[in-house]
């Protein structure tokens, strides 16, 4: 680790101001950033901790029924407080990492980082969530731009994420056995106007929607509806845990299992 300063603002405004400093960086739960610093792979002059900002924490319901989660809310809080409103989302949060990770890591940190194997991106894209920052609102469909790439600007802070609540939903995760991130994770959400299917862990391009499955499941919300579909291995990740073909295969299996879990 290189030496750095740390600031703990208590308002979004103060945090945004502190982040104007070129080498300052936002700190959520630190579950990704701190290991990066320990390996000396980043050298911020100051870390601006967001976890002391009250207005960025907690779970509530919007007038339209959407579940609103503060950007600095931990996975453990989401697992607990969203359970009654959005069980598919709460279930996803409950299976991220281990208790220590869930009690530190935040939804904002996860979405800002956009690890291609992370779970939250699947929920956000699968729910058609809105990512709210200190300056604007970004639709999930516009937000994810490839591995570790997002629509966020330098110094922009995710203050809240708004998830429309589906009729039925489920996240099916096949874990990468070492990291226990998703080797392939599929979030399926059935809304009145159709089904969304978002896949994480599999693609070189990060989280993506499997539109053929969405169409098939919108017509018939059952695993059998997937039967004729295939997933191309073309842009799937190859690593020591699985070949592109294996990941492509798992996308279909996990999608089927997600549907079966709630159909």
């Amino acid at each position: 680790m290189y030496a750095f300063d740390i600031e703990r603002p208590s308002t979004i405004a103060d945090a945004v101001k502190a982040l104007k400093d070129e080498d300052a960086q936002a700190l959520g739960g630190g579950q990704t950033l701190i290991p990066t610093l320990k390996q000396r792979l980043a050298m911020p002059s100051a870390l601006i901790s967001l976890t002391g900002i009250g207005e960025m924490k907690g779970v509530c319901l919007a007038d339209d029924g959407a579940v609103c989660i503060g950007g600095a809310t931990t996975h453990a809080t989401v697992a607990k407080e969203a359970a009654a409103h959005y069980p598919g989302l709460a279930g996803l949060a409950a299976n991220i990492g281990d208790p220590a990770v869930r009690n530190r890591g935040t939804v904002g940190g996860s979405l800002a980082n956009n690890d291609p194997s992370a779970c939250y991106p699947a929920a956000a894209l699968g729910s058609g969530a809105t990512i709210i920052t200190n300056t604007r609102e970004i639709a999930a469909d516009d937000y994810f731009q490839g591995m570790f790439e997002t629509a966020l600007e330098e110094g922009e802070v995710i203050t809240e994420v708004r998830f429309p609540v589906p009729e039925k939903s489920h996240y099916q995760k096949f874990v990468q056995p070492a990291s226990r991130f998703a080797l392939v994770g599929v979030f399926v959400a059935k809304y009145a106007d159709g089904v969304r299917v978002a896949v994480t862990g599999a693609s070189e391009n990060g989280v993506f929607r499997w539109s053929e499955a969405e169409a098939a499941l919108s017509a018939d919300f059952s695993a059998a509806a997937l039967e004729g579909l295939t997933v191309s291995a073309g842009e799937m990740i190859a690593d020591l845990h699985g070949s592109p073909e294996y990941r492509a295969h798992l996308v279909k299996v996990m999608t089927g299992r997600a549907v079966t879990a709630v159909a």
């Binding site: 096949f174 056995p177 070492a178 990291s179 690593d239 020591l240 845990h241 699985g242 073909e245 294996y246």
Partner: protein, 789 residues
């Protein structure tokens, strides 16, 4: 019934009080006044020529006290190989120098070529980044077959990547070839015994302290055998006289083999301390552990089993390429040879065995003994090919093994691979295992799994291993450059309690609990009044440390011999006190009694007399009560076992779940059944890890892709079933006073083939024509095998 806390009692581990309450004192916990920090600069390329190293910027960084490179150690020795192996043609093995810091060339990713000593670790790290090394990257040699075929040498000066080409037993080669040629059935299997990273919970750490006043050195280090480390540093590497070097291995958080060896970092902190005049401390981080600890296994083997149509074994023949990595680590030449080839007759009466092993240098981390060391490789080859043969012959895998087992009344048995097994009862173990697994009900369990859409398989296995290493005479013939006895000093204090100084080193095994159980049992006293001293060369007699499941069988035996000497002397003192002849004095339950009388004195009274020798026959008996014994066994010990496991395979994803696991072992007499169970549990977990999870992967450039826990899969509790163990009623070892065989490695030896056999059984039951998958059987590999079949 065991005596209270005596031999055979499941006494809880006294050391756990400190381990579980965070009071253990590991090397990293030790802070010495005035200490400086060392940081190593390691190669990021697998093979490269060091053109130049400019340390000037680093030297002028804040807090920097010294910078070392390989140049500073050209005049000192190298870290030697402990076993000399000769090739089949009689040529001695190739032994390129393993320097303290890489010089001329870097040979694997993680090879240290410089070190920075600074006031703080942070400053040392900052300065390390300012070292400018011009290293010209060369193509790396990673794959063993490529290494043997090409002319890109890891060590240019030896002009080959082959360390040796060994035959065992060379005189049996022709007969074995002939037997296989004429055999009615031959099963052939090519397999990989996957490379493992030991991953002790505590990374390596060392503190070197030079005392100018006495011109002496102290090394506090993470070692499984401090005396060997001292010997290697003194006699081979730095030439510090042994009397001027103390090595202390305090609490050590696991080793699994990786801390048997001496490493360059230990020599460096000693040399650095002398240069900077301060104690120098180094603590590895986890990445360094992955890159620079000696790894384990890494064999590629072709094994053939020849048999009659009725399954009677005629011959085993194997050809193995064994990776030694970039340098020879201390035991690396013994592991694939005498700890592997000699076991290639397994539990069987097979008349012909021939083993060929070529060891190969590659641009990877050194490979050496890891829990089981050679015997897991032997057992895996044998028990996989036997399972395959059973399938080909249409025989039950248990029956095929039983048909060829050495029978209980055939011991001692001279195996076709050159060892004499002293005792065992393999059929009894198999009986026990079959009852434990409830084999009759397996089909019901299989049906229940299939009803859930899962494939269920049953895997079984038998093993025998050679441990308690070992007889010096035998290992000397086999090429060992050291003896493998052990030693203990039993010191009775004046007030009747005891300090026992042992050559074995406990780094998780529970010696602090078990050794006192034995001494107390022999003396008829409370185990609480006996304490063990270990790990400090200035306090303990010269012993050879802990590995190869040798602590109890070898060091424990030394301790028994020393305690016998104590009893003999105490008897003489008691006889004097009781005014009787020593021959008339009995010793039971801590009391010396004149036969046929009620005249007696207690052990404590005798101890006091020995140290306050008033009215004492000084002309006949020395005062004091302290005895040392060195013990060198007559043979290895031969633990054996029968294992079973049941797995479920998800046919859609290839994921394997171990549902049940049974380990029936024969460890001879068991001193503390609870601790032995723990040893088996740990070994089985590591074996399941090897079979299903641990996937050490270098890419073609020699980058270690699995260099962190994000990619290297350590077995976790939820990867594991309940592990049922049974080690009651073993056949005692016939040649050591405790009748004990080693128990530290059986679990890791017996479990990998058990798991793989079970997975193959599951796939076959599902109609998949899969006969073998190389470990680790990750979901993707199992899925690929199912879908190519």
């Amino acid at each position: 019934m065991p005596k209270d806390g005596g031999i055979g009692a499941s006494t809880t581990r006294r050391e756990d009080v400190r381990f579980l309450t965070g009071k253990g004192k590991y090397t990293a916990d030790i802070n010495v006044f005035g200490q400086a920090a060392a940081i190593f600069v390691r190669s990021t390329v697998a093979n490269g020529v060091i053109k130049s190293i400019d340390t000037s910027a680093a030297e002028s960084m804040p807090g920097v006290l010294a910078v070392f490179t390989g140049e500073d150690f050209v005049d000192v020795g190298g870290n030697p190989a402990g076993w000399l192996i000769n090739s089949r043609d009689g040529e001695p093995m190739k032994e390129p120098k393993r320097p303290v810091l890489a010089h001329g060339k870097v040979r694997h990713v993680g090879d240290a070529y410089a070190a920075v000593i600074a006031e703080t670790e942070q400053q040392a790290r900052d300065a390390a980044e300012e070292i400018i090394a011009d290293i010209e990257e060369l193509p790396a040699v990673i794959n063993m077959a490529d290494a043997l075929a090409g002319d890109n040498y890891v060590h240019d000066e030896i002009g080959t990547n082959q360390c040796f080409d060994w035959g065992w037993i060379e005189d049996n080669r022709a007969a074995t070839d002939e037997a296989i040629k004429n055999a009615p059935h031959v099963t052939t299997l090519e397999l990989v015994n996957n490379r493992l990273v030991p991953n002790a919970m505590e990374p390596r750490a060392s503190i070197g302290t030079y005392d100018a006043a006495g011109d002496s050195y102290l090394l506090q280090t993470t070692s499984q055998n401090p005396h060997l480390t001292r010997l290697l540093i003194s006699a081979f590497v730095l030439g510090i006289p042994e009397n001027k070097l103390t090595v202390i291995a305090p609490d050590v958080g696991g080793g699994f083999g990786s801390k048997i060896y001496h490493y360059g970092e230990e020599a460096l902190v000693l040399a650095a301390s002398k240069k900077v005049g301060r104690p120098v401390k180094w603590v590895a981080d986890r990445t360094e552990a992955f890159l620079s600890d000696a790894h384990g296994r890494d064999h590629v083997t072709k094994i053939e089993l020849a048999c009659e149509k009725d399954g009677t074994f005629i011959a085993f023949r194997s050809e193995t390429l064994a990776n030694v990595g970039a340098y020879l680590s201390n035991f690396s030449t013994a592991t694939p040879t005498f700890l592997h080839g000699t076991l290639m007759a397994g539990n069987y009466t097979v008349p012909n065995v021939y083993v060929n092993v070529k060891t190969v240098f590659t641009n990877t981390a050194p490979v050496d003994a890891y829990r089981g060391a050679g015997r897991p490789e032997a057992t895996y080859s044998l028990e996989r090919v036997i399972d395959m043969a059973a399938r080909e012959l249409g025989m039950d895998p248990v029956e095929l093994r039983r048909k060829n087992f050495i029978k209980a009344d055939q011991f001692p048995f001279a195996s076709a691979a050159g060892l004499e097994y002293d005792s065992g009862d393999y059929d009894a173990l198999m009986d026990k295992m079959e009852a434990m697994i409830d084999r009759k009900a397996f089909e019901e369990r299989r049906n229940a799994s299939e009803a859930k859409g899962m494939l269920r398989g049953l895997g079984i296995n038998a093993y025998v291993e050679a441990c308690g290493i070992a007889p010096s005479n035998l290992v000397g013939v086999l090429g060992s450059r050291v003896g493998l006895y052990d030693a203990a000093t039993v010191r009775v204090n004046a007030t009747g309690n005891l300090s026992v100084m042992v050559g074995a080193h406990s780094h998780g095994q529970g010696h602090e609990t078990v050794f006192p159980q034995i001494v107390a049992d022999m003396l008829g006293i409370d185990p609480g009044s006996v304490d063990i001293v270990h790990g400090d060369t200035s306090k303990i007699p010269f012993g050879m440390g802990t590995y190869g499941s040798r602590s109890l069988a070898v060091c424990g035996s030394a301790m028994v011999r020393a305690t016998e000497k104590i009893i003999a002397k105490a008897k003489k003192i008691a006889a004097h006190m009781l005014e009787a002849s020593a021959d008339d004095v009995d010793f039971t339950d801590g009391q010396f009694t004149v036969k046929g009388t009620d005249k007696s004195v207690s052990f404590g009274e005798v101890a006091l007399k020995a140290y306050i020798p008033h009215n004492y026959p000084l002309e006949d008996i020395e005062p004091g009560l302290e005895e040392t014994a060195f013990y060198d066994p007559a043979n290895f010990t031969y633990p054996s076992g029968a294992y079973a496991c049941e797995v479920e395979v998800d046919p859609e994803t290839g994921k394997v779940t171990v549902e049940r696991f049974m380990a029936c072992d024969d460890f001879g007499n068991v001193m503390n059944p609870m601790i032995v169970s723990g040893q088996v549990h740990g070994g089985v977990v590591q074996g399941i890890g090897q079979a299903l999870l641990e996937n050490t992967t270098y890419d073609e450039n020699g980058q270690l892709l699995s260099a962190s826990y994000m990619d290297y899969v350590m077995p976790r509790a939820d990867d594991l079933p309940f592990i049922a163990v049974d080690h009651d009623g073993g056949t005692p070892c016939t040649h050591n006073p405790l009748g004990a065989k080693g128990c530290g490695e059986g679990g890791a030896i017996g479990s990998p083939p058990t798991v793989v056999n079970a997975v193959i059984d599951a796939l076959q039951s599902g109609g998949k024509n899969v006969t073998h998958i190389d470990m680790p059987l990750t979901p993707s590999r199992v899925w690929a095998a199912m879908n190519n079949a």
